[in-house]
Amino acid sequence: MVTAVEAPADVVSAVPDPELPMVSIADLGILRSVDVSEHGRVTVMITPTYSGCPAMDAIRGDIRRALTVAGWPDVEVRTQLSPAWTTDWMTPEGKRKLSEAGIAPPGPHQDAGPVAVRLSVRCPRCGSPDTSEISRFGATSCKSLWRCRSCVEPFEHFKALR
């Protein structure tokens, strides 16, 4: 019997982030590359969002498990630090999924001008720009804590890092 084996790149791309399961590691831009050797060894390159991100170990394990289940048991997961991850690598699809889950995605890239102007973060629930930051640091390294003045709901914002 011949079993259709899913391509390793597709398998790895679909692995969800352990802290933000609504997005995949490909959506977040932390998946750098997936290579398959002629002997079937899969080498996956990932990059940490923050140096101390505790999800990295879980992500390595999840990648290995997903590939093994899909018929690729020979897996090596490597970590690449440079160039350093930036939220600009997040896909539009990933940003949309975050927003749907109530997490305001990082804004578009802004060049630092002579005057620092910060675009306001829109409330992911009601869309209002009338929001304020409660804390620069949220439940994970990559998020900050905000509140919406219009609908009075608190929400998380994926911090722009670049």
């Binding site: 923050y50 140096s51 101390g52 350093a84 804390s135 620069r136 640091f137 949220g138 439940a139």
Partner: protein, 262 residues
């Protein structure tokens, strides 16, 4: 210069950088569940986590260079106080001298001085000829910018706050200031690493650091302390007794259960 000497120089330099981050992380972690508000608890824990991440990257690299099969864990948990190379600033207790064991102002003053230094240092190390060190520093640049920003916000809020918060924030800056001089002390090791483009001359960072500090302090209506007493010794393993207690706690699990892993 023969290669083995250079290797030991790199090892020593990485210990300085890695131990700074490790000890800073451990000190900040003392605030977990004790910060004045929940958001701050998470903020300090997040900053500690960034520092711990940096420490792991640096000490893993040091362990590889050091040879002998030592790992990052062996370096963190099985060295004695005299073998640590961190600056005195990060090991200082979070409290007021002769007063409360945990003081938020003192913690913020330490964080302000240290993150301003770490931010400048990592910007420069990001172009180090040591590729791996440059990559580690490249990540630290982005993270320390947030740490510095957080410390600066609190310094301004407390310094330019009530009469009492102003008094305590000024006292905190005054208490910490003497220990900042050690950060900018160059020695033979840094001179050798500067010569091959892999290290940064600590003394060359002070002007930029002072300019950042003076801006924040002035905005916070705080006085910049006078330069005077300048204790040092951390880089050669001569520490305050505070480090011994810190390590006693941090290393207790590993020493009780040798080789334990999560």
């Amino acid at each position: 210069m023969n290669p083995p000497v250079e290797r030991s120089d790199r090892f020593e330099y990485l210990l300085r950088l890695g131990d700074d981050a490790l000890v800073a992380a451990q000190r900040l972690a003392e605030w977990v569940s004790r910060a004045p508000e929940l958001e701050e608890d998470m903020a300090l824990a997040n900053i500690a986590l960034d520092q711990l991440g940096q420490a792991r990257l640096l000490l893993s690299y040091a362990a590889e260079l050091g040879g002998g099969g030592r790992t990052e864990d062996a370096l963190a948990y099985l060295r004695s106080d005299r073998e640590f190379r961190n600056c005195l600033l990060v090991e200082l207790p979070n409290g007021v001298l002769g007063g409360a064991a945990l003081d938020f102002g003192v913690t913020i003053a330490k964080l302000l001085c240290f993150s301003a230094y770490q931010h400048l240092l990592s910007q420069r190390l990001a172009t180090s000829t040591d590729q791996r060190l440059a990559e580690i520093a490249g990540k630290a640049v982005k993270e320390t910018a947030y740490h510095l920003d957080h410390a600066a916000l609190w310094t301004c809020r407390l310094g330019d706050g009530t009469e009492e918060s102003h008094r305590r924030m000024q006292a905190a800056i005054d208490q910490v200031w003497p220990y900042t001089h050690e950060l900018f002390r160059s020695d033979e090791l840094t001179a050798r690493l500067v010569a091959d483009g892999s290290g940064v001359d600590p003394a060359s960072l002070r002007a930029g650091w002072l300019s950042t500090l003076e801006k924040v302090l002035s905005k916070a209506t705080l006085a910049r302390p006078k330069d005077g007493w300048a204790p040092d010794g951390g880089r050669s393993g001569v520490h305050t007794e505070a480090l011994s207690y810190l390590l006693g706690e941090m290393q207790s699990l590993h020493r009780t259960h040798p080789g334990v892993a999560w």
